[in-house]
């Protein structure tokens, strides 16, 4: 498998002195050709800046970026073999849908007949046949998003950048688009670089995920590895719910300084029958599970219970036992112990 994108020591620093902002801080990243890679992180974590640097809209202050083996660090966007689907779709309001999609070809002076034909092909590919003559204003959000996709793909880029493309869609539409995007990527075989702050989206769509926090890339792994073996406390808490134990409690239970335990891996048993005993505080009902909060020696833990197996819950104040499998406890990097 070829390597599509390599970021080597890339930083993006704004301001100076007391007002320095390290939007992206010495990031090293290798993205393989043909994979669906997601940059995940909260707002302001640097994932968008990273994408913009790969696209060429922001220039890095240090480091280098290689795409398909070529150094493109200082090249303008129009000279890079990547295309972008923007968060607000950025469709040209004064052009028809067909002209929007064909824009990349028009700029390369492809003859009109051919570029219109290929534009219509792309629109069929994204399941929007027949809207070629309309204006962006006349389409719904979901439709515009597909047009943006078609427009970006027509140039056959090596890498497709997607900047939180599903953020503006409602839940059902978003889930539908997630499936379609994943299928499209499989079908085309192009490297997709996807940005989102939604960890469910990331987990369900990606081949690999890179988690950003305050400008640093904290972990790059497959979804399963990320979920089950988070490298840091931040990743543990950001991807899924996590119980983080540290200090004396962690040492007692695992011999390590800082560990994580997923709520669904904790078993609720009678008082005294588990590894430890805790006091019930309250519970919340989430449909597919109950989330019970318990007090374990001063630390609050979340325990997820299947409603079928636990038709009635212990009262607040009751003492219960907690049990878990040996591999359910996962060590976290010591420096992240708060």
């Amino acid at each position: 498998m070829t390597v599509a994108v390599v970021l080597d020591g890339v930083s993006c620093v704004f301001g100076s002195g007391a007002q320095t902002v390290r939007a992206v801080d010495r990031v090293d990243l290798t993205i393989e050709g043909g994979e669906f890679f997601t940059l995940l992180g909260p707002s302001g974590s640097g994932k968008t800046t990273c994408l913009r640097m790969i696209g060429g809209f922001t220039l890095p202050t240090s480091g280098s970026i290689r795409i398909g083996g070529e150094d493109v660090t200082h090249r303008p966007p129009y000279a890079r073999p990547v295309n972008t689907v923007f968060q607000d779709y950025a469709l040209f309001p004064h052009m028809s849908i067909r002209d929007n999609v064909a824009y990349g070809l028009m700029v390369q002076k492809v003859p009109k007949a051919e570029r219109h034909r290929r534009a219509d092909e792309m629109l069929a590919l994204v399941r929007l046949p027949g809207v070629g003559d309309r204006r962006p204003m006349q389409l719904s959000g979901g439709q515009r998003q597909r047009v943006a996709l078609a427009r970006a793909l027509i140039n056959r880029p090596q890498v497709l950048l997607l900047d939180e493309p599903l953020g503006a869609l409602d839940l059902k539409l978003r889930e539908q688009m997630q499936t379609e995007l994943k299928a499209l990527q499989r079908q085309l075989g192009i490297t997709f670089l996807f940005i989102t702050h939604d960890q469910h989206e990331a987990l369900s769509m990606s081949d690999r995920i890179g988690v950003f926090n305050q400008g640093r890339l904290e972990q790059v792994a497959t979804p399963a590895a990320l979920y089950n073996r988070p490298a840091t406390r931040f990743v543990a808490e950001f991807v899924g719910a996590a119980n983080v134990l540290d200090g004396e409690l962690a040492r007692q239970l695992s011999g390590l300084a800082s560990v994580m335990l997923r709520p669904e891996r904790i078993e609720l048993v009678g008082d005294g029958a588990g590894h430890v005993s805790a006091t019930v505080m309250d519970s919340q009902y989430f449909g597919a599970f109950h989330r019970l909060r318990v007090d374990l020696a001063g630390t609050a833990l979340a325990v997820d219970l299947n409603p079928q197996q636990h038709p009635s819950l212990p009262e607040p104040g009751a003492r219960v036992g907690l049990r878990w499998a040996a591999d359910a406890i996962h060590p976290l990097a010591a420096e992240d112990a708060a």
Partner: protein
């Protein structure tokens, strides 16, 4: 229809000098910015600032006594000494007082309509009012002035209206009043005042309207929720928040009145205003230095006024 897209190798490079230039401008944003701003800055720097500077310089020159031409070789403060002569001080005082009177009148007349437009007009009525106020603003200054010459003429429409209402005696009494009266409205300072108010009224209405528009409806609701009557809400909430709009409008009315030389000439008694002195001095007399010095007066007055207006928040309302 192909189900998979062959991935392109390197991006096709059309090359060409334009693209190279584009690359350069992209890498060096500062260069692009300079390319954009240099032409307008050159024009404004050289032509506008240059001529303002020349004006300032001329105020320190004087006319050569024998040739009548501007002597640019010596600096003198003679012009400024001349400014302090009683006749000239009269002109300045007269103009400032007129500017103040016009500003007050415009505020009084303009506030109700601005208030109505902001708080009560809706939809097409609002658009209609907006156009109704804006159109005279952009219409020909001279045509509007001409209209008033027709109106104020001794045999014109206003006299006719007074006659029809049997109020001619009132008109005559007004015209007999010293200082503001005259032969007919067209040749009186009262007439000048009326025309000034007419001309600058839209300049006052629009900023006030904008300022009142900006008051969040929730403030007024909170005020009445806390027990204030409509009148109290007006004086305690609306009027103070409309002040910046009034200040902004007053900048226009004050500054425009201060420098105008056409209106007093066409409609008015023969006393002079600042603009007229400047115009006459540079015209027939060719005394540009004195005209320059005189023109510094409105600049200073406006500067002072702007300082006050800024403290009242006028700049936020512009």
């Amino acid at each position: 229809m192909s189900a998979s897209l062959p991935v392109s190798a390197a991006r096709p490079a059309p090359g060409g000098p334009l693209r190279a230039l584009s690359d350069l401008l992209y890498r060096h944003r500062g260069l692009a910015l300079a390319a954009l701003l240099v032409p307008p800055l050159l024009w404004f720097g050289v032509i506008y600032l240059g001529s303002l500077f020349t004006l300032l310089a001329h105020s320190f020159f004087a006319l050569d006594e024998f040739s009548g031409l501007v002597d640019r070789s010596t600096f003198t403060l003679q012009n400024f000494r001349d400014l302090l002569q009683p006749a000239n001080l009269d002109v300045m005082l007269r103009t400032v007082l007129m500017a103040v009177a016009v500003t007050v009148a415009c505020t009084a007349i303009g506030f109700p309509i601005a208030y109505y437009m902001a708080r009560h007009a809706r939809g097409s009525q609002k658009a209609l009012l907006y156009i109704a106020v804006m159109l005279p603003l952009w219409s020909s200054y001279l045509v509007r002035l001409y209209a008033w010459k027709l109106l104020l003429a001794k045999e014109g429409a206003i006299s006719w209206v007074f006659a029809e209402m049997h109020l001619t005696w009132l008109l005559d009494a007004l015209l007999a009043t010293p200082v503001i009266g005259g032969n007919s409205l067209s040749f009186s300072r009262l007439g000048t005042f009326l025309v000034f108010v007419y001309m600058w009224l839209p300049f006052m209405i629009l900023p006030i309207q904008a300022a009142i528009e900006r008051i969040p409806g929730s403030l007024l609701e909170a005020s009445s929720d806390l027990g204030a009557s409509g009148r109290t809400t007006f004086w305690k909430v609306i009027f103070p928040l409309a002040m910046p709009g009034i200040a902004a409008g007053s900048i226009f009315t004050f500054s425009l009145t201060l420098g105008d030389y056409i209106i007093p000439q066409v409609i008015g008694d023969s006393t002079l205003f600042i603009g007229q002195v400047v115009y006459r001095q540079q015209g027939v007399a060719g005394n540009i230095p004195f005209a320059a010095a005189f023109s510094l007066v409105p600049i200073v007055v406006i500067g002072v006024y702007l300082w006050f207006a800024k403290r009242l928040g006028a700049f936020d309302a512009l």
